[in-house]
Symmetry: C2
Subunit: 332 residues, 2 copies
Amino acid sequence: MTTVKDTQGRDSDALPNPSAVGLVAVIVAATDGEPRALTVQVDGQAAGRSVGLPAGPLVPEHPTLERGLRAWVERQTHQRLGYVEQLYTFGDRDRQGDEAHGLHSLSVAYLALVREVRPAGLAEASWRNWYRYLPWEDFREGRPAALSEIERKLLAWAGETGDAKLKRRREDRLSLTFGLCDGAWNEERVLERYELLFEAGLIPEARGQSGAASPADIAVTGQPMAFDHRRVLATAIGRLRGKIKYRPVVFELMPPTFTLFQLQRTVEALSGTNLHKQNFRRLVAQQGLVEETDGVTSGATGRPARLVRFRREVLLERPAPGFRLRPAKRPV
Amino acid sequence: MTTVKDTQGRDSDALPNPSAVGLVAVIVAATDGEPRALTVQVDGQAAGRSVGLPAGPLVPEHPTLERGLRAWVERQTHQRLGYVEQLYTFGDRDRQGDEAHGLHSLSVAYLALVREVRPAGLAEASWRNWYRYLPWEDFREGRPAALSEIERKLLAWAGETGDAKLKRRREDRLSLTFGLCDGAWNEERVLERYELLFEAGLIPEARGQSGAASPADIAVTGQPMAFDHRRVLATAIGRLRGKIKYRPVVFELMPPTFTLFQLQRTVEALSGTNLHKQNFRRLVAQQGLVEETDGVTSGATGRPARLVRFRREVLLERPAPGFRLRPAKRPV
DNA sequence: CTCACTTATGCTCAAAGTGAGCATTGTGCC
DNA sequence: GGCACAATGCTCACTTTGAGCATAAGTGAG
């Protein structure tokens, strides 16, 4: 169903207008402090089977793209989608692993957040820790080991050009996205980092060899995915990391009741960084995002934690904590 | 070129995959403190000619959607596009003014910021103040007059349903997006407000009569546009209003040198609100966004202002002022 | 039963960041 | 010179943050 076979030759008479349009979904869950994405097996052409994101053709029966996606995913995975948001529309001709599908010239990507993690009804689907595909993005255990090697290779790539101006530009991008000099790592620039690695030829998918990476390479630049799906995943992570800062979307990933620390672990899992515990709970408290329940945790070591639940009302009260740019009282 | 004729019947054998894809561009400039969008004349079917956004078919020759759009717009309008960003992909079957085009089932919208405002080479193109189409979004002269009437009509719409639960929900959305009760107007919710008006039947386009609005209606709910282009415009404004808060994109709209007050006027034009002058300049100064030039303004009344220019370097230095969610020093 | 250990939760404090407004400085104009 | 006007400088109270210390309340070992 979601496997794609290279039935049609590409370069077919595709010049006139009609383009094939596909949908891709990044379905995210977070359990036990691990950020996970739903993946499926894809029948590859050259390198055998590989892993990709759930994808399918656009279904034109539905009134809305989003509703179509919702219905499609819920039917196939028996996963109820909570939050759904359009991510981006990818249309590069030279990406997407042409030889693999030859069909879609455009794919509309969606991000979905789900609450429960069932084994997923979709055949050959499974949940995978998303850092498996982008290992350099996880700073929770300190600076990722892979980063040193990545930086070395990227600097080499920047240096290998003769053009001094181009070299300078590459180095600038590098230090900007990977925070080389000033050490300012911006966790939202996931896509920019991935694209840089792609351009530098460190991503096997770029060479059309999704499956053909050595274990050593995988440890550094991560597990490849089918087509261009790692790019889609990178886009999703970047977007989500940005969003959690100003919209209460994390709660879509939480069970009905949870502890503040579980909430913190989830935010940390998504953002790939660690947070100051006391300040985190202060933030949550004073924003009025949760309310206490009677329950407490038990069994585990340490003092039991109070269980809280998300206050759905904040979606109405708080017109999305809009920072910056406060208007003045009177007109000029 | 950009006019669309209803050549093909819709409901054609459109069930199989191939869908027609179109591009739409919201090209924004700001001159004399007015926010402007580039519009073109559209050959309407029923209501005669009307105004719409530049749009055209997807050109598959280009490697990237964005590059395709860039080339296409620059060729047609002789406008050099500075900043370009993908906005959203619209795919509703029941919107987009079906009867008008019957062709596109999907359109990819882009936002572009341009610096110079020439009369535009595109035939029958012209710059229009964007509040002409969304008059309730401009708070610079105080609360827009149209808002009272809009609220009255929206409340009536909420009340006209028998279902108490639905009524409640409508009222919630209403007070959330229009900030009825708490008076918390969030200037970013442009699209949500437009959609609410659309659902409430206050947008003529919903009834397929783009041109058939009375002057009184236009004063309240704004000038209609062809197809679903007002929705695209609303999306663009909302996005831009959000973006200027955390990325230095306003400068794409400014001339090479400008005064801090001109900058403020531009930001105000986009956001539709007024800002505190002294605090605004303090913000700009301490962020190091601009550097002084030797020039000063002259001629006008009052003390001359120093001319400044955008410090392009900040694009490298400042990894996009990321607020909130500061990481802790050590792992756990 | 008490101690060691672990996690939850309360509270403080200094440093920045913000909102609002007063005061002063240059210019053109009469 | 005096006035109106806009630019620019500066103050001040008030919040919001970053960081850490201290205390509370469980578990398991002895």
